[in-house]
């Protein structure tokens, strides 16, 4: 028996409940547009669909010029950060039922504070420049042992939250300080610094704390909590920033 036969022999599924949606997208193509404008698309979707499924559907079957980034579609690559109903989220981790009811509207805009290149796609270079500025790599110049460097479970646990970051930029581009002052390294870069500052094996703690202590660093943070609310991976970013502030004050890690 082939798979096709097996499928046709299966009991008939209950009809899938579909909802009607208006998807309002902020569009901008610098080759043809002077400024951004809203376009609205009527679509049908299942409540359990991801917003990225809805956007794909529009791109593939209604408006092929719609441009946005996406890849893994399950919240690990961090490509599809966008403003959905006014909040920074990953389109692939946001379900339709959580942002709209039947007949409702979903609004989609690019994340803020980075230059819009086209539609929902922004220039990520400044974001990655901030990332690179904090020395985002392990430094230990002592001779390595033949096996692993031992680390206690407790010390390994110190990196649980910060190492969970996927560099999607939801936090940094939801931060009001970053909108006003692009020189601020921003929450994502501080989370990355935290990742190494609190790694018991790393030897460059003081250098990184000095970077964090500069006027583009951690003291710009006004504890607005937007970053923590925006993080699609539930990283307690504001808490991590506070830990870095305390480490600078006490020069300890």
């Amino acid at each position: 028996m082939t798979q096709t036969h097996a499928q046709s022999a299966a009991p008939v599924a209950a009809p899938v409940q579909m909802v009607n949606l208006n998807v309002k997208i902020l569009r901008f193509n610098p080759e043809t547009d002077k400024k951004a404008h809203w376009d609205t698309y009527q679509v049908q979707a299942q409540p359990s669909d991801r917003v990225v499924d809805v956007l794909n559907d529009i791109k593939w079957y209604k408006e092929p010029s719609l441009t946005f980034r996406r890849s893994c579609q399950h919240g690990i690559c961090g490509s599809d950060a966008m403003l959905i109903n006014g909040r920074n989220r990953l389109a692939c981790k946001t379900l339709v039922r959580d942002v709209a009811k039947d007949g409702g509207t979903i609004t989609v805009e690019p994340i803020r504070g980075l230059k819009v290149e086209r539609d929902l796609l922004v220039d990520m270079e400044p974001f990655f420049d901030s990332y690179k500025a904090i020395m985002p790599y392990f430094i230990n110049e002592s001779p390595a042992p033949a096996g692993e460097r031992y680390q206690s479970e407790l010390d390994a646990e110190r990196m649980e939250h910060s190492s969970n970051c996927i560099l999607c930029a939801c936090c940094t581009t939801s931060c009001p300080i970053f909108w006003v002052n692009g020189a601020y390294l921003g929450p994502a870069a501080i989370v990355q610094a935290h990742r190494f500052i609190f790694d018991s094996r790393d030897e460059a703690t003081h250098q990184r704390l000095n970077i964090m202590n500069q006027n583009t660093g951690v003291w710009r943070c006004r504890t607005a909590y937007n970053c923590t609310e925006a993080c699609p991976r539930d990283i307690p970013i504001t808490t991590l920033i506070e830990e870095v502030k305390r480490a600078i004050m006490f020069q300890q890690s």
Binding site: A6, N29, W60, S71, H74, I76, A146, D199
Partner: protein, 583 residues
């Protein structure tokens, strides 16, 4: 625009980043081209771990790992590759730790290890803890760590550049052509050596764990040159994808004690693999699940899934060591592994086949020892024949590290010894023609519609169970889709970030991969590993203990021609005789 680097790496996942690091150690100039930002590569989606016989939790030896790899591959694994791998991976995992990778730890502070499918002690006696892990985001941590190390060493990256052609003349690779997504311009990269590490092509299937970008571009470009793709019929379905979505649920879920159950609540793997039950290799578990579903014991609305049961495990294990998948199940299915059974079904996951290479990553041009000078490949894109007919869980991350490292080392060594070979007269011509044809076509057929038909038909006809008539039909379907592809319309004339144009191009690459896969599968009249034929139930060592090499016949309408390559049945110091594969 023209660029020049001694070594050029295509792809910035685990294999590409490791290759770039090692090439740079060889004192040559290195650049890395990726169609994504490097941190978005699909290596980040790997969850469960990287297998290495460290013996941190239980006694283990590289010989046992080698044996498991060979047996897991249903004896189509090249044993020299398996031996190099099982030895090298031990030191490579320590190297990752020295790069700062935040592994989970044992109580004594060593790298933690857990059980995984097909990994055993004493040559198959019982399951062993061999998978080194960082919670259930091991791939994410490997990708981040390797990217960090490349930032440290100053690798030049060309992000969001899409490779459209390999420049090969007179048997030597001279560079690549790439399309800059931001400007819509073609760039020629002149290089002494090129390393291909651009991942798999899981998007030819409807239900897949693979990212949207995994469209087999470089495999297709290689194949379009009349060069062979090896063992394309061996495609792995991961037993546990989230129902309907195909999102990966790590095998670590079973390594930590998760149990598969059918609609009667029965632990059905006891019937299929009595020794290691739920920890049998992926091909066996995937077939067992589909068999349960076919026999009417599936769950869910369409009865096309089974359950994974974690409810007997402590909450700390589920929310700690399996936090990532717990979040996925809660987000996408509204099922909480702490108290609910989670619905899963097999999902297209990993290409065992690809661009053939030798142990140093050098690309092979035939099955008789020919190669393409200056061209290397590693990772899922490549086929060094480590995985044979079925890859063991954790061996993909290991493959990236071990063979990425070797490709980087040997490419740099080669680049130090040679001068730049001359570029062809108009290197960008073929890429230009390809784009012009796509832009010019005003056909009414839509790339998305063709892609969907390809994905659905591949799922039905070249999936977990296969047979001659279905695959013959699929060969015809692909021919028809290729004909329609010639008339696919691209309506967006923009130069900047024209993703409609790129997706149309990717569809062309996917059609080639699907063609090579289907023809290779139709040709192999036996069942072995992941290639399971209902019309040829048995493994046939007398006739089929050999690798498939699929070529596009450039002189004959692009028809597929099948050749073969011998299997290395011995390692350097160990050899394992083919035996019936029971667990």
């Amino acid at each position: 625009m023209h660029h020049r680097y001694d070594v050029l790496v295509v792809g910035a996942g685990g294999a590409g980043l490791m290759a770039a690091l090692y090439a740079a150690k060889g004192n040559v100039s290195v650049a890395c081209i990726s169609k994504l930002y490097p941190t978005r590569s699909h290596t980040g989606a790997a969850q469960g771990g990287i297998g290495a016989a460290l013996g941190n939790v239980a006694e283990d030896h590289w010989e046992w790992h080698m044996f498991d790899t060979v047996k897991g591959g249903d004896y189509l694994t090249d044993q020299d590759a398996a031996e190099v791998f099982a030895k090298d991976i031990i030191d490579a995992v320590y190297e990752l730790e020295h790069m700062g990778l935040p592994f989970s730890r044992t109580p004594e502070g060593k790298i933690a290890q857990r059980k995984f499918g097909g990994h055993t002690r004493d040559f198959g006696k019982a399951a062993v803890e061999r998978s080194c892990y960082a919670k259930d985001r091991t791939g994410h941590m490997i990708l981040q760590t390797l990217y960090q190390q490349n930032v440290k060493s100053g690798t030049t990256f060309y992000n969001e550049y899409h490779v459209t052609d390999l420049l090969i003349e007179n048997g030597r690779c001279r560079g690549v052509v790439a399309y800059d997504l931001a400007s819509g311009e073609l760039h020629t990269f002149h290089a002494k050596a090129v390393i291909l590490a651009a991942g798999g092509y899981g998007k030819v299937f409807k239900i897949t764990s693979n990212a949207l970008t995994l469209t087999g571009d470089l495999m297709s470009i290689y194949y379009r040159k009349g060069l062979p793709l090896e063992d394309m019929e061996f495609y792995q379905f991961h037993p546990t994808g989230l129902a309907k979505l195909g999102i990966l649920v790590t095998e670590g879920i079973r390594g930590e004690g998760g149990i598969l159950r059918n609609s009667n609540g029965e632990r059905f793997m006891e019937r299929y693999a009595p020794t290691i039950k739920d920890l049998a290799p992926r091909d066996i578990v995937s077939r067992s699940i589909v068999t349960e579903i076919r026999e009417g014991r599936g769950v869910g609305l369409d009865k096309d899934a089974v359950h994974i049961d974690l409810t007997h495990l402590p909450r700390e294990v589920i929310e700690g060591k399996l936090a990532e998948i717990t979040d996925l199940a809660r987000t996408y299915l509204g099922q909480d592994p702490v108290k609910d059974l989670v619905a899963i079904q097999p999902t297209a996951h990993y290409a065992m086949g690809g661009i053939p290479t030798d142990l140093n990553g050098l690309c092979l041009s035939d099955g008789m020892g020919g190669s393409v000078e200056g061209l290397y490949a590693a990772g899922e894109q490549a086929c060094v024949s480590l995985h044979g007919a079925n890859r063991l869980g954790t061996n993909s991350l290991g493959d990236l590290i071990v063979f990425g490292r070797r490709a980087g080392t040997y490419a740099a060594q080669y680049a130090r010894q040679v001068e730049y070979a001359e570029l062809p007269e108009n290197p960008e011509r073929e890429s230009q023609e390809m784009f012009e044809a796509l832009r010019r076509s005003k056909g009414s057929d839509n790339a998305a519609t063709i892609r969907k038909e390809l994905q659905e038909s591949m799922m039905n006809n070249v999936g977990i169970f296969r047979n001659g008539p279905d695959m013959e039909r699929q060969v015809g379907i692909i021919q028809e889709l290729k004909a329609r592809y010639k008339n696919v319309g691209v309506s967006d004339p923009s130069r900047r970030y024209n993703s409609e144009l790129i997706e149309a191009m990717e569809l062309g690459f996917m059609l080639d991969c699907a063609e090579a896969m289907t023809s290779s599968a139709l040709n192999r009249t036996e069942s072995r590993g992941a290639h399971d034929r209902e019309d040829f139930r048995e493994r046939d060592d007398a006739n089929w203990l050999k690798h498939t090499m699929a070529y596009k016949d450039l002189n004959n309408d692009g028809n597929v021609v099948i050749g073969y390559k011998d299997v290395a049945l011995k390692g350097f110091t160990r050899a394992f005789e083919p035996k019936p594969r029971v667990y």
